[in-house]
Point group: C2
Chain length 436, copies 2
């Protein structure tokens, strides 16, 4: 009998690799890593675990990777409801941000978002927001993994006076966090319509020098594309390609308004596409062509976007809608299988971040980032397919969440967070933001 | 002080009429009816209630009206996943129904569906399925309201040998249930492509004679429309209008593939349109033009459809997606306000059933069909708009549900149902259905 830290016996396991469902298997964890995944009957003979859990009505999956968020915007949940994207940004969000955003606000908002994400199974996220150092501290404190794409934009913000200032702050952050395994700094140019060619070229040079990834909102609406074509004759995706941005280290977010050529470009350059279905619906941006992106072999990932346009941080809900929209939007009921859905929210996200050797699937040797989804709700019966129960109803419930084998959330409560006290702080700060 | 049966003090009340949110108000109930709705401070001075509830973090709404279901199909949850509509019907659903459907199966499946619907706030539903007498008994037993649209189709089914047999059974059922206030019989011709002109004409005559409503699947897919136009030159909606079917007593379900003229016809005839967004997405039928239906003044309602294509019976989830799709599908972020969403799932449903004098809004004199939605989840904070919390996140939780002032569900458990035992029966029957 080998002594190990943790053994979890589960009714079902969806390891992502291979793309199948294992029944009555166990995950064996030692020193934060998965050291075995085998039938429970065998695990019981081989291992003596300090902690031994039996989850008879749960399915285990890899921790979720939320590839696009503005975490601190949980404080702006519901601001500008029912406005289209440009008015929402220009009339509601940007004025509030310019007046209100501070290190302290971001520290609280990011911490609140991470706590909510953890209860929903997200163990890794990508953020794009002002004061990324405040987000980094919150992430380190709560023990999640993150990519922080620093906001680069050609006008003054609460965080930087211009793009050059943003770039120099990014370099400093990269130096500061390069030895933290759970935090990686990336570049976050806001969008083609707010960033100049000159700035994009500087970002590309810097990304190559420092090995940084780039995340950018791209072709979120048809009018963004139409305006660019009218002004310059060039689609934003073509322009980014001309500037050398597209590639395995580039993450194009939203990508709602795509031509066949845009999809082909993303595929050919091995770029990542990130869909944010709820945000795209709520802001009336439209439906991304996720079926076509998958068919072209693009590395498709998923994000919640910020809570101001969602209004939650729940990647499972997001994935449910992504799956339904892939079918309903394409007219193809076989579009996006549930194994593809699960891969999009785990392994594809890990790939986009360059972390797929370490996370994204439940394989021996990887970090023990694991989600247990409880399927005991009686109204899931009759149940013949646990993946359908997870994705096609709202009755599956994320229960335990582990990162590096450490329990980070259980039954909707994040570990190490006084949720009630923090909820009061959050409500108080929002009130102050509105009366300011 | 007036003695009354029940007083509910609530943080918020959304009465639907008027279309506003009341704060710190109370609903006062006696003998199953709403006898007052006033500020809590006043209610405490005027009434002495046998039961007095204080719901400090809940919003009260009218009971939900699920206008399209095949309740017994909860037993077929997940059958034929990821097939398009025609293959799903012809290869998966119809063969199983022909082999398996019986009075006993429908009795169990309908009861299970009603139990699930009750826990989600649905107090009134419309059904279209074989053995409607079994559904009626389940509904009477659990105390919900229903319209039972009997299935009329031009080929033999488990319930009727042909359309004429279905019609004569409908007449018998109408006689049997005409004195039950909570059950009303209607006619349910399956679809224009499975019902002949001759049968539609007979249904119309019968409906006029007996005062019956008619519910029918109409233009669920573009190919249904294309096939009809190719074969006859006539769109199904035009044909139904030519046959005299459209009108205030007609409920057209799905209506995904609509032309401007179809919408105008529905509006001009005061017909009801019923959207089933999750089913339409999952079967890849497409997105209904709900924004345009609302703008034209059509009485728009909502249904879950059967669990085989959904996979749950949760009208709140359905309404959330309907709202998001109205925006994302139309490109108009102001499409479908949350007050409209709530009206679609309550008063519009009541209107379609001719029950709007009695239910559909929280007004003095109406029946006390009430849902309390708990908004205490900490991750709804910051909260500035309770309706956004209900519809734009998945963290609002239907708690208490009353019909005629009697508690029918609480904390996810339906009153008078042994849920665990029934879940076992349901799982056992499904197993038998699959191995038969």
């Amino acid at each position: 009998m080998k002594s190990v830290d943790l053994q979890i016996d589960a009714r079902w396991i969806a390891p992502v690799v291979p793309a199948s469902i294992l029944e009555h298997h166990s995950i064996v964890i030692d020193k934060g890593r998965i050291i075995d995944l085998c039938p429970t009957a065998r695990a019981r003979l081989q291992y003596e675990a300090t902690q031994h859990l039996t989850l008879n009505e749960s399915i285990l999956t890899p921790g979720f990777v939320n590839l696009h968020n503005h975490a601190a915007m949980t404080l702006m949940r519901g601001v500008g409801s029912d406005l289209p994207l440009q008015r929402w940004l220009e009339d509601a969000i940007w004025p509030m941000e310019n007046a209100q955003v501070s290190y302290d606000m971001v520290a609280l908002g990011a911490r609140w978002s991470i706590a909510e994400m953890l209860t929903g199974g997200t163990t890794t996220f990508s953020d794009m927001y002002f004061y990324p150092d405040a987000v980094a501290e919150a992430a380190l404190d709560l023990g999640v993994r993150c990519q922080l794409a620093t906001p680069i934009i050609d006008f003054p913000t609460a965080w930087a006076s211009d793009a050059a200032d943003g770039i120099s702050k990014t370099v400093a952050l990269h130096d500061q966090y390069k030895h933290h395994s759970r935090v990686q700094i990336a570049l976050g140019p806001h969008a083609p319509y707010t960033v100049s060619d000159d700035t994009f070229e500087k970002l590309k040079t810097l990304a190559d020098q420092l090995g940084l990834r780039i995340q950018c909102h791209v072709q979120e609406t048809q009018s963004e594309v139409d305006d660019a074509v009218k002004a310059t004759g060039e689609r934003p995706m073509q322009r980014l390609h001309r500037l050398g941005l597209l590639g395995p280290d580039f993450q194009a977010v939203h990508v709602v308004a795509l031509s066949d050529e845009d999809i082909e470009l993303l595929a050919r350059t091995n770029s990542t596409a990130v869909t944010c279905p709820d945000s795209n619906l709520k802001l009336a941006s439209g439906l991304a062509r996720t079926r076509d992106l998958l068919a072209a072999g693009v590395n498709l990932c998923i994000g919640t976007d910020g809570a101001a346009s969602n209004n939650d941080q729940d990647l499972l809900c997001e994935a449910r809608n992504a799956t339904l929209l892939a079918k309903g939007g394409s007219g193809d009921a076989t579009a996006m299988t549930l194994q593809e859905t699960l891969q999009i929210m785990t392994l594809n996200g890990a790939r986009a971040l360059g972390l797929d050797d370490d996370i994204g699937s439940l394989e021996i040797g990887k970090a023990a980032d694991i989600v247990a989804i409880n399927l005991s709700d009686p109204f899931l019966k009759p149940m013949t397919d646990p993946m359908a129960a997870v994705f096609y109803t709202a009755r599956a419930r994320v229960d335990q969440v582990w990162i590096d084998g450490k329990l980070k959330a259980e039954q909707g409560r994040p570990a190490g967070v006084d949720v009630a006290a923090m909820a009061r702080d959050v409500q108080r700060l929002r009130k102050a933001m509105e009366s300011a």
